[in-house]
Subunit: 552 residues, 2 copies
Amino acid sequence: MMSLWLVLSAAVSLVGALWPLPQNLTQGNTALRLSGNFDITISPGISEPPQDLYDAISRTRSHLFTDDLGRLVVGRGAGDVSTFETAAYLSSLTLSLEPGSSVLSITAEAQKPLEERDEAYTLTVPSNGSVASITATSTLGLLRGLTTFEQLWYEYDGTIYAVNTPIQIEDVPAYPYRGLMLDTARNYFPVSDILRTLDTMSLVKINEFNWHISDSQSFPLQIPGYMELSEYGAYSPQMIYSPNDVEYIVSYAGARGIDVMVEVDTPGHTSIIGESHPEFIACYLARPWASYAGEPPAGQLRFANATVANWSAELFTAVAQMFPSSMVSTGGDEIQTYCYDMDEETQYDLNSTGRTFNEALTDYVRGTHGALAAAGKTPAVWEEMVLDYNLSLSSDTLVLVWISSDDVKAVVDQGFRVIHAASNYFYLDCGAGEWVGGDPTGNSWCDPFKTWQYAYTFDPLANLTSDQYSQIMGGQQLLWTEQSGPDNLDPIIWPRAAASAEVFWSGAGGNVTAALPRLHDVSFRMQQRGVRSIPLQPLWCALRPYECDLDW
Amino acid sequence: MMSLWLVLSAAVSLVGALWPLPQNLTQGNTALRLSGNFDITISPGISEPPQDLYDAISRTRSHLFTDDLGRLVVGRGAGDVSTFETAAYLSSLTLSLEPGSSVLSITAEAQKPLEERDEAYTLTVPSNGSVASITATSTLGLLRGLTTFEQLWYEYDGTIYAVNTPIQIEDVPAYPYRGLMLDTARNYFPVSDILRTLDTMSLVKINEFNWHISDSQSFPLQIPGYMELSEYGAYSPQMIYSPNDVEYIVSYAGARGIDVMVEVDTPGHTSIIGESHPEFIACYLARPWASYAGEPPAGQLRFANATVANWSAELFTAVAQMFPSSMVSTGGDEIQTYCYDMDEETQYDLNSTGRTFNEALTDYVRGTHGALAAAGKTPAVWEEMVLDYNLSLSSDTLVLVWISSDDVKAVVDQGFRVIHAASNYFYLDCGAGEWVGGDPTGNSWCDPFKTWQYAYTFDPLANLTSDQYSQIMGGQQLLWTEQSGPDNLDPIIWPRAAASAEVFWSGAGGNVTAALPRLHDVSFRMQQRGVRSIPLQPLWCALRPYECDLDW
């Protein structure tokens, strides 16, 4: 019995540690060394390769020689020497596009609408030192192949080597939307933190940065024509995202195969707009805030007011111009009706136009969505917009389900496309206690902490009929930052957010027991790249796959 | 009503932000500037001041001019300019000892037995520019006064200023043991991380570093004469604490008023000793581990064996020589009896000597404690040693209560002195999910997350009679590091561990509502010193004391 286990153990330790797991993977157990002269070449068939493909190649080459990741076994690779010291050297990797593929930049491919995204690739790594290859039908596919290729390599005593060649991978994501949401309004994050996060997202093939850029507490986005919002609403003149910052972030993301879907949350979560436009805001700083708002400070846009509605629509026109993505989110969560019930101006606007609350809200959202449509954008909203207010939005609207994964079915039944963002699986901030003051024993509303294991068990298609599956676009983990800032950004996200990255790339049904050694591997690789990804277990366990499992 | 609130608000914003709160504090609302030539002098009455007092002064001077902490109000101090621009300059602070005080180093004072520690001080800061002063009866008291003095100052546009002079503080800690426990065995922490943690502990007057240095997963401590333990038991030759490292850490701690109480956990939590002494370990790597151990890998010292018992006692003699503290912990938690029941060698040892399990365990612990006593040390143990095994230990033994604060009374009733370390209040690692593999929906055994607020409500004297109060030595928050490493050390500890620091310095009964602005302040000061202390709230709230309270 023990000897069988030893055999299995040894076999297991040679399995590659790719994350997310490719759809089809065939691998051997032959070692291969990376030549010191290793080169990545673009096939002559790709005429005029885009600059961001050259840049991606350059980053991959750098990662190959600087990751310096020791393999996660006792000895960190010392035991591999006898295996690799006679191995062949790989001197070259060639990138090719299938004949007839159009040649766009990675950025342009990443920013395509969800239904047009093409991330498939084929990766072949022979054992004998002949050329490795990645083929795809888009530059974005080539990028995904490069990312996979980077994860094959370990370092020991100056030798860069793989243990599991020959390798043949045919890969394609299960879902076109694999995101991460970051709130930069409750607390501010310097651009450098966002860039590092984008790099890490790219490492696990997350392709959407859902940027919750403003909220009731601060408005850091500088919008041409609306500069007063950040001038009065940013935490400080240094804690802003200028148009240049946005352009740089969007471009940095695009080059890494990541689209940026910005959210300017409306009409709720807008108190801070009262700093520059107090007349736009109902129940502005009203007390007790808990009667008027989900969290302090109170204040929501007077959506029933024609001036506010027009201003909001024009604001989204301006926002749309800053972000090349095909999608922009207008938010729409947690509208507090009591605030509007108590607001004389809103009641006057409703009465004078003879509209109900829902009718006026419909008009408002149609205004902002109309502006987005005119700018060529698809709108996204939080689930309440379609479940609570029956707004009859355009059928192409994307709906983020956050309150509970139990709500997905209702949204899908209405015919909308869904982005999974359920707090009960995917909220990275849950479980760290109550942040509102004056509550000695309070815990977080969305307790408990959402573990990577639990997120990993998520089934995107639960409760749906098979003809509804195509309405699921993918999903994301989310970080609301009431208790986060630059000092705990990495540890709270990584490696946990890799869980949904694999669910939505590889598809549901993965097994946490089998996944853990691979997740350790990618987490340690993140650390090698300067990301403060946390340990999931004692190092003793990380170096001994399965030995810390409950049933070992 | 609103105007009253505004008045209160303004008054509140001038309250100093000291953490922990001094026992007696009188302050005004006059601003004072720090002179660019500010100097700290030692009274001529202190003959031959120790070097670590000079060093402490030097650190304080550096902090005063480099903390650069903007005050936590909207504008971060811009509104203070009109207040401080006509303020007097403070040019000097004098340190004095009361006549007749002996002059020892800070380090020597910090390392004294609990009952001999003297940390009291008086701090006077006038408003008019005359000399400020700290007086005490020990150099350790002077250090505590310097630490308080540092927290008075803010920076705006190049000016260093205080807002709440004149200040008169008479201060003394409520408890002599105010600790922080760090486990460096589940995951390793470089010396630099420990030093940074010691600096931060000192900032909130934590005076005891309880170093859980070894466990079943690794043995990083190099002990002269026992080098095989770390040679075979450290995670790598680099992941060790050499005698020089220990000496440096102990000395660094001492200079900051911190004693180091090391724990070498025995006889449980010792599997890794099997790497060098397999014959010493019962149920070594036995499977299923869950039957033999609280966590993998299984293995416990064969305490009933005379060779093992003698070896353990001598080991503690060697450990005692490395650590100048008056206290050393021999551990003693989570002994798994099934492991010994199944261990033929242990059963043989028990039978051949005619001893029961408890008798043999008593002999073993008396051996290690005897070695410590011979080395002049007071032993500390986890609670099971006195509650579960009735070992009749020496009455001076310190008992750390970790399983539940409900167990304190039983330990005190036995006459032992207690160090509070209750998992239900003070475990910093709780609530982050199950780390054992193969458990998709598992949460942490000590859920939920222990918030700073909850730790802050802890009553050290609960359920005790007044004549038992003197048996409470203090307490600590604790970090077990199954899911922690250098990458999340700071965020998981800070500012939460400041909660117990205040409970055990200032005494119980503090109010979380009143404490929060001060805790923000010390957390932001930690950040200014390069510590990754996390935000407790959105910055909007941190800049507006009380406005994010539940009842605002």
